[in-house]
């Protein structure tokens, strides 16, 4: 954790969009592993290739996910903000960050310790199920957004016959 630790996570934690609809006992268990953090603009949250063990539920500000491009500027893949979750790589092998992340502006979040959450889910499968549903939902939304971007929505349209 590289941010500034604040008070205990509730009550902002329980109202986070990512946790909407989660049973109160599961939220309470998760809250016990969460820490409210804040980061200044330009703070690197994680680095591509480094061990991944954390995720954040963002509550304010913006974080840019990016890849290093040798011989070129870094390329931003996506920006995430309030209501988003950032950090999936701790959930599955090789448990390494696939991208890098840096705050674009002052950012606030709830930080979850990946291994602690995983252990909690092992002990409480109901929580594991609820968390998996939400992580899957977030991943599906990102996948759909990525597919839409593949359409190159705003690109130069192909002229129809008799074109302009």
């Amino acid at each position: 954790m590289t941010g500034t630790m604040n008070d205990t996570p509730a009550p902002g934690f329980t109202g986070h969009a990512f946790l909407r609809g989660m049973p109160a006992d599961s939220v309470a268990r998760l809250a016990a592993t969460a820490t409210a953090v804040s980061f200044p603009a330009g703070r690197r949250l994680f680095e591509e290739g480094a061990p991944a063990g954390t995720c954040w539920l963002l509550t304010a500000g913006h974080v840019a996910l990016f890849v290093h491009a040798p011989g070129s500027e870094d390329l931003i893949v996506e920006t995430l903000g309030n209501g988003d979750v950032i950090g999936f790589s701790w959930m599955s092998p090789p448990h390494e960050w696939q991208f890098s992340a840096e705050t674009v502006e002052a950012t606030e979040a709830f930080e979850l310790d990946g291994p602690a959450v995983m252990a909690l889910c092992d002990r409480h499968p109901d929580l594991g199920y609820q968390l998996t549903l939400r992580m899957l939902g977030a991943a599906v939304r990102r996948l759909q957004a990525t597919r839409i971007r593949l359409l190159d929505l705003y690109g130069t349209p192909r002229p129809r016959a008799g074109a302009r």
Partner: protein
């Protein structure tokens, strides 16, 4: 040919490059100007000796001049984009339906633009900002491929100063870009929307408008409160030739601005 179908001569008074392939022309009438326009309407612009194309008006209503933003995608639009100061071009119109932004009086206005789709929305935005007190929140969500391909980028700060919340997202950006990266529908997911009191005006490529309307629907905005600007092969502009037919609509007359309630069933029909 009726008088309405005859082009009026306009002279290019100013030309501004928006992006590498998009230009905004300010046109002044040489003779009698065309009738005043409403936000969302289009004109037929005639590059003499090359051809004629429908182009949305991107300037606010009022005054004899016209502001039109053109993307170079073919022979005629290329000729128009290359038109220099003083060059005379033909103008017919204005044609079609308008955004009806005043229908949002006392409510929120949500403008969602993709790429050059911001051009036909700009008059509606300017009209709303001119009557700022008549509306609650004015939110503008803009998507573009890259920061370099944003049109009217130089005006965004002024729109914010005049009371609009403007959010921009791009598909690709290098480090240093401090806006969003992602699709415009993600901005909708993050926006604070009052679905019961919002009029959404959407313009961009058709796929973008469909996906945007779906995202707005997910937020609870009914299709009847979503308006889209549709484009087909407008030729005559006066609902006589039928080239711009979309199902029961002749878009030069019944569009370009159409309620999504009316447009939705038509946009999912192949080859329509």
């Amino acid at each position: 040919m009726s008088l309405q179908a005859l082009p009026a001569r306009y002279r290019v008074a100013a030309r501004a490059a928006e992006t590498h392939d998009t230009v905004t022309l300010r046109l002044e009438p040489v003779d009698q100007p065309i009738a005043p326009h409403q936000p969302g309407q289009f004109t037929m612009l005639y590059a003499f000796g090359v051809g004629e194309v429908p182009i949305s008006i991107s300037g606010g209503p009022g005054g004899p001049g016209l502001v039109q933003t053109i993307r170079s995608v073919g022979a005629v639009t290329r000729a128009l984009c290359e038109a220099g100061q003083g060059q005379v071009i033909g103008v017919r119109g204005p044609y079609g339906t308008d955004w009806g932004v005043t229908d949002a009086a006392g409510q929120d206005v949500l403008v969602v633009a993709g790429g050059i789709g911001l051009a036909p929305l700009r008059p509606a935005l300017l009209a709303a900002l001119a009557g700022r007190d008549r509306y609650r929140r004015i939110t503008v969500l803009i998507g573009a491929r890259t920061p370099e391909e944003l049109v009217f980028a130089g005006e965004i700060a002024a729109w914010r100063d005049r009371g609009a919340a403007v959010h921009v997202t791009v598909d690709r950006a290098a480090a240093g870009w401090d806006g969003h990266v992602g699709v415009v529908t993600q901005l909708i997911d993050r926006a604070d929307i009052d679905p019961a009191a919002t009029l959404a005006l959407v313009c961009g490529p058709e796929v973008m408008m469909r996906l945007t309307a779906r995202a707005l629907g997910d937020q609870g905005i009914p299709p009847g409160r979503i308006r889209v600007s549709l484009e087909r092969n407008m030729r005559c502009g006066i609902a006589e030739c039928g080239h711009c037919q979309l199902g029961p609509l002749l878009l030069c007359r019944d569009g370009p601005v159409v309620s999504y309630q009316r447009a939705a069933p038509l946009l999912s029909v192949e080859e329509l």
